[in-house]
């Protein structure tokens, strides 16, 4: 069976819970914290969604479609969560700079046709996760800013 890698110029979108959003002391959201990219215990890969899987006249339309799809999946993003968006090429480059050869694979699940498994993801690399959060995977869109 051929592995379906997500093209490097395409983008991944991943939900970031409220607890892992960077905030100031008044809870104004400022970005994504590096902890958003940690694997849970026994998680074999990092989950994300393939943005360009969805049709849309613009990147924004595709992003909104992706968010709708995620909302309709078994995973229910909370009201004040956000979505981190990053280009596969840049995410891979950041990982290579830390000596990780990740595999960004489209693996459809029962509730998410655009599901991506980012395999060979490091269990805990604070520097990498910070570089992703501050850069390569650091574009943030808030759930409440996406239309129904």
């Amino acid at each position: 069976m051929t592995t379906a890698y997500v093209p490097p110029d395409d983008s991944l979108i991943r939900n970031v819970p409220w607890a892992r959003l960077r905030k100031d002391a008044d809870d104004n959201v400022l970005g994504i914290d590096s902890a958003a990219f940690r694997l849970r215990p026994l998680e074999p890969y990092l989950s994300a969604t393939w943005l360009e899987f969805f049709a849309g006249a613009s990147k924004t339309d595709q992003m909104h479609e992706a968010v709708r799809h995620i909302r309709n999946s078994d995973f229910k993003p909370t009201a004040n969560s956000g979505f981190a968006i990053g280009k596969v090429r840049e995410i891979e480059a950041a990982c290579v700079s830390r000596s990780y050869k990740i595999r960004v694979v489209h693996e459809e699940t029962a509730d998410n046709r655009a599901h991506v498994a980012v395999r060979r993801w490091p269990e805990d690399d604070a520097v990498l996760f910070e570089e992703l959060a501050a850069g390569a995977w650091g574009d943030l869109v808030m759930n409440k800013d996406c239309p129904a």
Binding site: W18, T78, E131
Partner: protein, 246 residues
Amino acid sequence: MSLIHYERRRNLGNTDWSKNWSSFAVMHPSYELGIESGRVGKLLGQLGHSEGATNAILDTVLNLPAAHGWWADDVFKMASGGTGNTEVIRFPHREVTLENRLYDTLASFKVRTAQIAMHLADGFRQRLFRQLDSLLCTEDWVVEDEPPKLASFSTFLRLILFLRPDVQPGLGATQDGHLIAMWTTSSARLSIECLPNDQLRWVLSRCYEGSLESAAGRCELVRIRSVLEPYNPRAWFEHDDGLRTP
């Protein structure tokens, strides 16, 4: 003889104490429990507590306010007569739900803050409580996440009182129950994850001449100033106008 008042989840068949207890009230002044703690520890061991759980229970008990001390004296008098070797332990309990767990966590954090509130500016404390209210809100909490541990929050408070930052941090939480203190400027970010027992994990990044520099490490709380010194921590901790916050 001393009594320990456990707050235990309603699930009497589950003897995994490390998961089932939430908070405790000492029924005697803490100094007296200190004397009896060895005896209590032995009893807890006989109930099947692991050493770790026993130590954690006693550690939590010794740090709680003594507001429960008086009614406990009444219970003690009722229970102690003629029992010889019998110890009485009374367990309040509530149903285990995510909402209850977050509720208990939030309550315990506010009570813990009270222990050092005389060292905090009132504005700092009020803002901290607003942050905790929103962080531990059921509607925005991920079910799979472990609520932050009291031991982590204790480290956080000690960190704040040690650093005395002018700028109050943002708050986050890891999925395994640690609080994260965050400082962010236009060009630099610092996150300090508060582990139990004054252990810290820190990670930072900053833009320098167009490229991103980052660093991470782990240290004891007392070392954090020295560890961060090469990265100009004043940029995160101090107001431009020199105003003090905590």
